[in-house]
Amino acid sequence: MLDERDAIDRHIDGVARAMIDGEPRADFTVRVMRRIAAPRTHAGAWLWTPAAAAAVVVLIVVSFHRPQVSAPAGPVAPVIARPTSPAVEPPALMPAPVVAIADAKPAPAVRARPDRVAAERPMDVDVEPLSVQPMHVPALDPLDPTAPGAIGIEQLSVAPINIEGENK
């Protein structure tokens, strides 16, 4: 048992020796001395390059986040504009792919926008009911007809007109 173990250990040692057996290249010393003789590069370059890259990334991130932060600061005017914009968007989308929008359940997508606006601006509670109404626009329900094109366009054109009138 011990003999077997010793034999295996010798084998393990031999393999370990072989794993790190080797010599550096013949010109190793020359290359080391060349590096020593060469003017010393600025260690700061290794620091400044990634630091500059990091600064650029931070600037980009900050610039992207700024609009979101500044929006709540402007209280009244933008608030009115936003509820109208989701209402305007559906008509812009509807005319072209009528069937596709019917299948994609447009109502939940429209509901999300007023909720988001409400969450961002608790002060604008008065505006919310106005924006909710266009979401339930029944104009979307009669999408049942098998020949969709003409009917869809008529309904879309009606809904936004009502909303804008109420807001104003």
Binding site: M1, L2, E4, R5, D6, A7, I8, D9, H11, I12, D13, V15, A16, R17, A18, M19, I20, D21, G22, E23, P24, R25, F28, T29, R31, V32, M33, R35, I36, A37
Partner: protein, 192 residues
């Protein structure tokens, strides 16, 4: 001329003296780096960096330990810093090392019984040992490889790893035990 004398001359601005020190210790430094990194190319880069660092810190060498021990400690730190890089680890895992290639290229005969008697000298058996050594925890693997290089005394290994000599010896024995255990798991019988 002793290492200490060469160090003194190098401190006084004699580059040839330091060149002589490089020639004397290049193999030991290179093998230490190879033990840590596993890749000859990386080991050579780390060894060069070690000599460069040693040259620049020559004034801080106080002679408390031998120049070789001081140099090996620097080399080990250089190599370990490289090893910590994720890229190096990925290369270790993803690419077969040169030594393993050698084993793979060797013709090997099938070891039907897979007893060590049959397997000794078998390239497949050696390859399995290489794999088992590579899978060792780094502390065990480092101790085993450095001890087998033949370039270092136990106290030098202890200085490099900042570990007592007794612990180094235990790690070497433990490394062998774990390798034997792995071989047993791979179906080798009578491996002690």
């Amino acid at each position: 001329m002793t290492d200490a004398e060469l160090v003194e001359r190098a401190r006084q601005g004699d580059p040839a003296a330091f060149g002589e020190l490089v020639d004397r210790h290049r193999s030991a430094v290179y093998r230490a780096a190879l033990a840590a990194l596993g890749s000859p190319a990386d080991a050579e880069d780390a060894a060069q960096d070690a000599f460069l660092t040693a040259y620049r810190r020559l004034d801080s060498f106080r002679g408390e330990a031998s120049f070789k021990t001081w140099l090996l400690t620097i080399a080990w730190h250089q190599a370990i810093n490289r090893r910590r890089g994720l890229t190096r680890w990925w290369r270790l895992i993803a690419q077969p090392r040169a030594n393993e290639e050698e084993f793979r290229d060797e013709e090997h005969f099938a070891s039907a019984g897979r007893s060590p008697e049959d397997a000794l000298g078998d390239a497949r058996f050696r390859r399995d040992i290489v794999r088992a050594i590579r899978e060792l925890p780094p502390k065990l693997r480092d101790a085993l490889l450095l001890a087998q290089s033949g370039d270092y005394q136990y106290d030098e290994i202890g200085s490099m790893l900042k570990t007592p000599v007794g612990t180094i010896k235990w790690r070497i024995a433990e490394a062998r035990r774990v390798v034997r255990s792995r071989l047993r798991e791979r179906g080798y019988t009578n491996v002690g």
